[in-house]
Every structure is written in C-alpha cells, then in structure tokens.
Amino acid sequence: MAEVEFDQASRIYTAGAKPAVNRLDLEIEDGEFVVLVGPSGSGKSTALRMLAGLEEIDGGQIRIGGRNMVGVPSRDRDIAMVFQNYALYPNKTVGENMAFPLKMRGVPKEERASKVRAAAEILGLSEYLDRKPRALSGGQRQRVAMGRAIVREPQVFLMDEPLSNLDAKMRVSTRTEIAAMQRRLGVTTVYVTHDQVEAMTMGDRVALLKDGELQQFATPAELYDQPANAFVAGFIGSPAMNLFTLPVSEQGVRMGSSELALPRSLRSRISDAGLSTVQLGIRPEQWTVGADGNGSGVKAQVDVVEELGSDAFLYAHLDDGEQTPVVVRTSGRSGARRGDQIALTPTSEDLHLFDPSTGERV
C-alpha cells in the first residue's frame, strides 16, 4: 500500500499540440479511493495509463510510495489494473488467469493455489475456476478481472471504466461491491470513469478533468456544494445545474423582465469581484415552484415532466424572451403538467456564482 503523487505530470503526444494531460498535480493518500472523472478526451484515461506505465511521462513525475516512476516499466511498479474489456487471457482458465500475476512473480504453486482459492471465495467464483473466460457472463468476467488484480496484493489498484460493459442493474450492484472491497482491503485505488454518478458514489475524493487540465480535486460533497468553476458545476449533478448569465441589478440579477433578488452575502461577493454580469448557478432542487400570478418569482412554462416516483423533474423554459431552458426538481406527483405556467423562486442561499469571462467561482 502506498500513496500516489502526480507532480506536474504531463503527456504530450505531438510536440507543439495541446498536451493530453497538462501538468497534473494530485496527491492521493495511502488507502484512498480516488476517482478520475471527465468527459471523453479529458485525459483521465491517459493519466491512469501514465500511472500504469502504459504511457510515457513526458514532463514532471509520478511517484508511488515516494518512488519516482519515470522510466520504470509497468511490471516493476507493483500495481494491478482492471481493464474496461477485462483483458482476460482467453486460453487460460479462470484459476490460471488469477494465478498468472503470482506465477510471474515466482510464487510457489501451493501458495498460488491457496491465494487464488481465497480470492475466488471473496468474489463468488469458486465454482468457475476451471472454466475458460468465454464460458462466463459479463459480470463474472468482470469479477475474474478483479480477482486477478487482488490476488497479488499490489500497492495500487487501477481501474479503467471497469463497469462500462455491464448492464445498468449489474453496474449499480458491482459499484457497491467494488467500493466495499476496496475499503476492506485498504489498497490505494485510482478509478477512471466518465459517469459522474459512479464518481460521486464510489470515490473518497474525485478529480475532475477537462482537456487534460485538472478542474477540481475534492470530496464528492465539496464538488457538489462548492464547484470550483462553471464546468464542474455543470458536470456534477444530474440533471445538471441551471446556469444563467445575467446582468447584475441593485437587488440581485435581472432575469428577463423580472428581477431576482439575491441574499446580501451573494450580492457582496458580486460587488467584491466588480462584475456587471454574473453567471448564476441554481441546482434543480434549489427552486420552489408556485402557481403563476403570485407576483414573486420567475415565470416559466413547463415543456416536459419526468415523473420518477419519489420526485419529478420539470423541464421548462423561462419567459425571458430567449426561452432559456430551466430544470426544476419537485416532489413526485406534484401535479404539474405540460404547458403549465409556473413561478420559480430560488429557495436556498447557497446559490453558485461564477465569473462569466473565466468561469471561476466568485
């Protein structure tokens, strides 16, 4: 077990072009579960592969347990990886697949067998040890890949979208299993996904990347409550946060024809930053819905109602002349229907403000 540090680590595929990973700084603590998340092309997989030794480190350092990994081949890094397509050895049985890393390290045969049996027990694979991977279901293959990683007790686990080939239900249950197992084994884990739900539910901390740049590295709650910039705000949370670019007025901001009053704390942050327009972020659950005609609130018209049972999402547009879309979460069976005129008021004082020119949090 070990801590992992990315120290200004860069990966540059073509000289002069934008780096795939640009001066990444991450300090991952011993035993921590860190998720790298971001849209495709954000460099999250590249960063993981740099840590794995499958991609060059073109600048900076990556350290595992304090040891610089630049120029160290994968097999000497004492790490194990679970691949998206599992990369099981098709000609070996499940048992042989799981024993392979031990065999390569010269572990005696009896010890190999007992370790494989123990891992198979944990993963519920005991009865499949003599099968070939092709005779297994997707979920079972995924567990064999996990088994191959855990048998040899590496310093770090790397997982590259290990759930993306599973069906939705299996993904949720396996998600919990992986997180529970990681906590039990206490092995430092770096997990890559493009799915923000996976990131939020599994990680101790989440590193959000975009275009090879780290956007924010924080706990899931911090990421949700205090996004560092408008991109983070829009990426984390489903449905996404409503983001409006609005002119600043005396009492708050102007939203179409109406004025949206903001609490004093927010107003002072705007004036401190000296902004005349501001990007305001309101999460779908940060609205209260009133019937139109109450006088207060921003007027909107409902386009679609998504009834989820426990709650419902209203997809509406504002009556601001530009039909700006807005998403609102209400309790289930709110009775809202398509075409309804509603008045929206932000409930919370914890609205999010961003500088429209830089996207940074104000």
Binding site: A52, G53, L54, P73, S74, R75, I79, A80, M81, F83, Q84, N85, Y86, A87, L88, Y89, P90, N91, K92, F100, P101, M104, R105, K132, P133, R134, A135, L136, S137, G138, G139, R141, R148, R152, N165, D167, M170
Partner: protein
C-alpha cells in the same frame, strides 16, 4: 458479455433471415452455381485419383471409363521408379522451411503490428515488393550465386529459397492475426509482471495459434508444390516430388496412369496437412475474453 451477446445474436439472425426469404430464388440459383463450381474444381482431382487405379490402356479411353478393375500396379511402378528419396527431400525442405518461416515471421509480424516499429508501411511494402519480381527473372542470378558457392543440387539451397519465398506472405498473414489480438492483453500481462518474451509465449501465441496453423499450412502447400527452383537448381540428390513427376512425361509410350498415381501420392501429404490444420483453423479467432 452475456447480456449484450444474447441481445445481439437474435438480431443478427433476423438480419440474415430477412434477405434470405426475399431472395429465395436467387439463393437457390447461387447454391446451384456453387455446386457447379465445386464439382468443376473437384472433377480433375477425382479423375486423377480414378486414373491412378487404372491400367494404362484404360486411362486413354474416351469417354473415360467409370467402371474398371482397379489395380495398384501404377503405384508399384511409381515406387519402383524410386519416388522415396524425392518424397523425403520434399518433406525435409517443406518442414524445415516452414519452421524457419514461422520462427522468423512471428517476431517480424509482431514488430509490424502490436508494437509497430517506425515506418511500418515502408517495411510492409518492402516485404511484399519482394514478391513482385517474377521468379523467372531472378533465376539466372540465383543460379549463378548458388553455383558459385557450390550449393547446386543441395537441399539446403531449396530450404533457403523456400523460406525467403514464403516469408513475406507469412509476415503479412501473421500481422493480420496479431492485429486481432487486443492490445490490452499485452498490457495486462505486462502489469501482471510478465516480460515481453513471456507475455508473447504465454498470452499472445496461444491466442493466435489458429492463425499460425493457417500460415503454416499455406507455407507447407507452397513449399511442397514448388517446382521452378527445384527443377533448375537440383539434379539427382536434392530433387523434390514435382521434379520426379515430370520425369514420367515421356515422348513415347503410355504414362497417364503412372503420372496420375505419382500425382496422387504427391497430393496426399498436402491434403493430410490441410485436414489436420482444419481442426485448428475452425477454432477461429474469436476470443472469449473481450467483448
């Protein structure tokens, strides 16, 4: 991937069924055509085998006799004429050259597929360009060189030439099989602590073994059937079966049945090799481990 495969399979089946139903007439026409072509290919071989069991006199009847008293006389004649050493020469040249080709083509194919060297396209073009010159155009310099180093009528001369002749094809074939191997397998092996040599031996080669079998079969067929080098560069000691076959064609006398018996014997090993390799070939290149 049980779930996705299960979903995909019926979909694929309906796709296959739909056009088949529509073009039922077309498909039966195609079947008939396929049979005609198939019989067209098979008939000369059948004729050859039948003739091999005939008396010389029966072999020349027109139309050919379908019912006759079979005899092994022609085969006896062939063995009396001394096909033995020729068979051994052919076998030796074929087996050794095929082993050499696989030993050289496998690492070469690896270097132009999974871990490509620089200028891969140029390298590949170079390999295939060696097949562009007609052998006839090269035979004179080859003859001169072989003669000067004193290796005329030497089986190793044929082995070297057969290896060189089959190597480009083998590299290209093996390359396509290597490209089917997901690169994650190599990456996983390297994370698991295997050296490159070990991951090749333990992980990649078992996966591409059907491809190696196919490549070996092609090399065996080409080397076994090769005639031009053999007839120009060998005489009594190193000559191979195709050279022996031609020896039966005489300007006088009857030789059809004898020739067919010898040709049947010559064809037999290739058929056997193909039959053995078939089991390996039909395993196909479907890997269970990846989606």
């Amino acid at each position: 991937m049980a779930a996705p495969t299960a979903e995909r399979a019926p979909a694929a089946r309906t796709e296959e069924l739909a056009p088949a139903k529509k073009g039922k007439v077309g498909s039966s026409l195609l079947t008939v055509l396929a049979w005609i072509v198939g019989i067209g290919f098979f008939f000369p071989i059948l004729w050859m085998v039948l003739t091999a069991f005939k008396q010389e006199a029966d072999a020349y009847t027109s139309p050919p006799k379908l019912f006759f008293t079979p005899t092994l006389e022609q085969f006896r004649t062939v063995f009396d004429a001394g096909i033995g050493p020729y068979l051994l020469n052919s076998l030796f040249a074929t087996v050794v050259s095929t082993i050499l080709v696989l030993a050289l083509a496998t690492p070469a194919a690896f270097a132009v597929s999974l871990r490509p060297v620089k200028k891969v396209q140029d390298v590949l073009f170079f390999f295939i360009s060696t097949k562009m010159l007609p052998v006839v155009a090269a035979i004179v310099p080859i003859y001169v060189v072989v003669n000067n180093v004193g290796m005329l009528d030497n089986i190793w001369t044929l082995i070297i030439l057969y290896t060189a002749m089959n190597l480009p094809i083998a590299v290209w074939m093996m390359r396509s099989f290597f490209q089917e191997v997901p690169k994650e397998l190599l990456e996983a092996a390297s994370m698991d602590g295997a050296s490159l040599a070990r991951s090749l031996r333990e992980v990649v080669l078992p996966v591409i073994s059907p491809g190696m079998a196919a490549t070996a079969l092609i090399c065996v067929i080409f080397a076994w059937n090769e005639f031009f080098f053999a007839v120009n560069l060998t005489a009594a000691r190193a000559a191979t079966v195709p050279v022996f076959l031609v020896g039966f064609i005489t300007s006088e006398g009857l030789y059809f049945a004898k020739l067919c018996a010898a040709a049947t014997l010559a064809a037999l090993p290739v058929v056997i090799a193909g039959w053995i390799a078939q089991n390996k070939l039909v395993q196909g290149l479907s890997f269970g481990a990846v989606k």
